[in-house]
Symmetry: C2
Amino acid sequence: MTTRLTQLLGIEHPIIQGGMIWCSGWELAAAVSNTGGLGTLGSGSMYPDELRAQLAALRSATDRPFAVNIPMLYPNIEEHLQSCIDFDVPVVITSAGNPKLHTAWLKERGRTVLHVVASSAFAVKAEAAGVDAVIAEGFEAGGHNGRDETTTMVLVPAVVDAVSIPVVAAGGIADGRSMAAALMLGAEGVQMGSRFVATPEASAHEAFKGEVLSAGEGSTQLTLKELAPVRLLKNPFYAEVAAAYARGAQAEELAALLGRGRAKKGMREGDLVDGELEIGQVAARINELKPAADVVRETAQMCEALLRRGT
Amino acid sequence: MTTRLTQLLGIEHPIIQGGMIWCSGWELAAAVSNTGGLGTLGSGSMYPDELRAQLAALRSATDRPFAVNIPMLYPNIEEHLQSCIDFDVPVVITSAGNPKLHTAWLKERGRTVLHVVASSAFAVKAEAAGVDAVIAEGFEAGGHNGRDETTTMVLVPAVVDAVSIPVVAAGGIADGRSMAAALMLGAEGVQMGSRFVATPEASAHEAFKGEVLSAGEGSTQLTLKELAPVRLLKNPFYAEVAAAYARGAQAEELAALLGRGRAKKGMREGDLVDGELEIGQVAARINELKPAADVVRETAQMCEALLRRGT
C-alpha cells in the first residue's frame, strides 16, 4: 500500500508503532521496522545514557527506517535530540509540546519530523513550524492526550481538512478494520500503541500486559486534566484519583497524589495496585498476546482486503 | 448501496436520521424518508397528542418507511407505543432503557425494532430481547449517552463482533468519509443526528442551529453522568454545571440546577444562555445549513465513491 506517508518514511506499510514510555524499547521497534512498519523508541522513560544504549541496539537489529518519540514534557530533551543526530535517527516524532521549538533544528540536520496533535488548530501550527506530517490522536488513545476530548472519528477528517501535509490517525486503532476506517477518514497511515503493548517484544511488565488483555469497555479513563491529561486503566491508584476529584481536590493535591515514578511502578515493575497503567480504550478489543510482526502483517493485510472489497 | 439494514428497513441508503428532542419533527423525517433514508420522529419532547399530530402529518408527507424514536427515560412511553401501532409506524427505535420491556410487544404487532446501545454488553442484551438491529452510539454523539465513554471507533467493531444482527454506527458521523469509515468498522448503516440539526427542516430554534454551525473542537462536553449522561454545548448553563462539579456537588444539587424544561428552553426556544443545547462533537465539522435531502444524497454519494476508490 502506497501513500504519501510510506513515501515520506520509506516504509512498506503505513503503520507506525507509537512510542510509549516503559513499553517500547529496541526489541519492539526492531520487530516492527523489520516487518515494514515504522518502529519507534519511546524516549520519555529513558535517561540519555539509556536512550543511547537503546539506539545502539536498535541500529544493530535493523537497517530499516525507525523513529524516536520525544515527549517534550519530560526532561533531557536537548540530549535526546542530540542523540537522534549522533545515531542518525531517520524520523523524530515530537509530542506534548510546541513544535516550533525543535522542528527547524531537526530539519536542518536532515531528520524527518512528525508531530502529535489533538486538535486541528495545533495541526495548523505544526504544519507552519515545518513538520513533515502530523499524527492526529483522538480521545480514545492511551497515555497523554489533549484537553478537548475530540475522538478519532471527528478529529482525523477535521485535521485532514486543516492541513496539506500527510495525516496519521491514532487512537482506537488496533486492526485492519480500524485502519481501513482511518484511511477512509482521509488519513494516510495509522499509529497504533495499545496493540503493540500486547506483544512479547514490548518491554512492559508481563502483569501489565495481562491487564491490557483482560480490559473491557469502560476499563480506562482520561483523567488528571489539571496536570497533563492521561488515559489509564481504572485500577486502585485510579480509584484514589477519582476519590480526590469527588472531594473537590485541586491541582496541587492531585500532583502530590500522583507523585513521581508511578508510571514506571505500574508499567515496568508490574505494580497493578499503586502503579499508573497507561493504555487506550481499544484495549477492550485486544485479547491475545501476538508477535509484533504478526500485528503489522495481519493489520496491513486485513486493511487492504477490506479496501479492495469496498465494504 | 445494499446492506442487511437497507433490506430490513426497505430503504435506499443505509442512513438513519436520529430522533432528537426538539429537533426532529415530521418535516425533517419526511425530507429524509423521501430521499431514501430513514426519517425519525423524536418523541422524547412530545406529549401523546403532539406525537399523534406529528404522525398524521408525517403519514401524509411520505409513503416511504420512517421511524419513531422512544427514549424510555421519558414519561408517556405506553401511549407513545400505542400510537406507533395506531399509525402503523414501520420502525420503532428504543433508547435509554431496557429493551426487554417493550420489544416483544412491538414485534408481536409487526413492528421492526431497533435499540440504541453504548456497549457491547447491552448490544448482546438487546439481541437477546429480540430487536432486529442495534444502533451502537459512541461517546462523541450528542444528547444522552453511555457511561463508559467508549468512542465510535472502538465501540462499533466491538459490537459487530458481539452480535449477529445488523449494527448501525452513530456518533461522529456527518458525511461520506465518516460513513465509509463506519462501514469499514463493520457497520451496515449509520445514524446521523447533529448533521440533521443543521438543516432548514429541523424544528430546532434558528439560534441553536447557528450555535451548531459555529461550534468548534472542544465546544461540547459529556456531563451530568450522575443523572443521565448528556453531551451538550459549553454555554453559560454548562458553565454553571462545571462550577457545581468543581465545588463537589452531588446528584441532588445537580438535578436541582438542571431543573425542568432546560432542553426546550435551549433547543426549541433559542435561549443560548440558560438553555440546554444538546449536540455531538461532530458539530465542529458542520459549517453550513443544508437541506436534509442534500445531506442524505451527498453523504451516500461520497461514501459510495470512497468505497469504490478504496482509499
